[in-house]
Symmetry: C2
Subunit: 279 residues, 2 copies
């Protein structure tokens, strides 16, 4: 089938590689607002050709929207307008606002809302990698609002990519990703800023940085063009989790201030419970 | 030479492996208060024999103290009392308190304060791994308080392990590690507690956890027996960094509350500055 990837960056580019490799796409068309990304996607062989959005949609069987969530909100109705028999899917990190925006569109059924749970802190076509999605979960939201054939096609594709399917409504999805993805990015950005602030006084601060620091701070390299729109879209959930996280940090602070090391021990033992989740 | 490792866990065990492998130690003697760890260290071949501390010190050329920092503070003077020509070194995560405790000991010169900047979230003899220290930094604190021959021996060993030497006074060391190690552990513990708290309501919360979450939360598996004493010893520095970190998080919170997405963008762009440090 012919697949159009709108937004040929980390996710769209990695998806293009996987669809070609699995023989799912015989042709991949790239659409991107950024001329530099268009050329790079061609040079890297991520896409077979670059077309404008309207032309690309017409000749495609599947359209994958992998643009930042703000662009997605602006784009999704226009693409739906041009769709007929085609299937459309997205790969966005937030879902409630998106599905609200299209809920009364006459072609709503052609759209399948998905969120493959994979990413890195890098962005752009050069960030695309082989084997990106294998073994990870992908969420399909509000399945019942999509046409059966459209859902079946998308499910089949994700299964061929080696992904595990999770079904969730958009509201629950947005709460869950605030906890297991969005807050990790905020703590990482804030930790980077904490240490960079100190570096202004003390040049040698990073000389001792090792694996543990790198692990907690690597997400701080993530692209603001992707993350500001995510935080904006999922603002209320992210605020809830951020408030909870600050209050958890305050417990550690209180333990140290009051020299209550028994409670500090309890907090750490509780945190160790993450072992049952993260092997 | 004959080396005694006091505390045959993650660090001591990995050190024993490396010293044997590089031909630095012809014999490794293990000392450990935990009988289970003694047996495990023998079973895993980390040590050649297990002795009591006093006997081990007598027959050794080098004694490595790799116990939690609270145990280190209790132990270090006793070991120094038994030392004559031998060299002693530690591998502890905090230094000011330790060096205060021994500063007037007549054998102070035999002791070299070191902190190899490597670790994982695991502990005990089973956590010991090969090639643990290669390519990492190691700190030597207050070098001028140690005998020249003792420093030379320790430097030579760390160089043979493939480590890069950094010299620092104990006070600066403790500030720096609060920034590049201790705070990472607190954020990770607190993040784990944040998410585990929510899990009580929503079972499926972890179904969507992927690499980014795992990366920021993996340190939350770390052993409280090691970390409570570190936070206690480095309390004031950790509190300073924790206060700064909470205030950085509050900036993200304020951006979201006030919907100030330009400032949010600025905060993230600033955090991206970590790219120049962490490749």
């Amino acid at each position: 089938m012919t697949v159009t990837v709108v937004g040929i960056g980390l996710i769209g580019g990695s998806m293009a590689i996987a669809l070609k490799e699995k023989g799912i796409a015989t042709k991949v068309i790239g659409v991107d607002a950024n001329a530099g990304h268009q050329q790079k996607a061609l040079d890297l062989g991520l896409v077979d050709e670059v077309l404008d959005l309207e032309t690309a949609v017409k000749v495609s069987d599947l359209i994958i929207l992998s643009v930042p969530v703000n662009a997605l909100l602006l784009l999704v109705n226009t693409v739906l307008d041009n769709v007929d028999r085609q299937v459309m899917m997205d790969a966005g990190s937030t879902k409630s606002g998106l599905l609200d925006v299209i809920k009364d569109h006459p072609k709503r059924g052609r759209f399948v809302a998905t969120h493959p749970m994979w990413g890195t802190e890098y962005s752009g076509p050069e960030a695309a990698v082989r084997g990106a999605f294998t073994g990870k979960a992908t969420v399909i939201c509000n399945k019942e609002e999509s046409d059966e054939d459209a859902v079946a096609l998308v499910e089949n594709i994700y299964r061929q990519l080696g992904m595990h399917l999770v079904y969730m409504n958009a509201v629950d999805h947005d709460v869950h990703v605030a906890y297991v993805s969005h807050i990790s990015h905020i703590t990482s950005f804030a930790l980077a800023n904490t240490v960079l602030e100190k570096e202004k006084e003390e040049e040698a601060i990073f000389e001792l940085a090792s694996g543990g620091f790198e692990s907690t701070v690597r997400l701080a390299k993530s692209n603001p063009a992707m993350w500001v729109p995510i935080f904006k879209e999922n603002r209320e959930n992210v605020l809830d989790v951020l408030n909870e996280h600050i209050s958890q940090l305050r417990k550690f602070k209180a333990c140290l201030e009051k020299e209550n090391y028994e409670y500090l021990q309890d907090l750490i033992v509780n945190a160790n419970g993450i072992k049952k989740i993260i092997k």
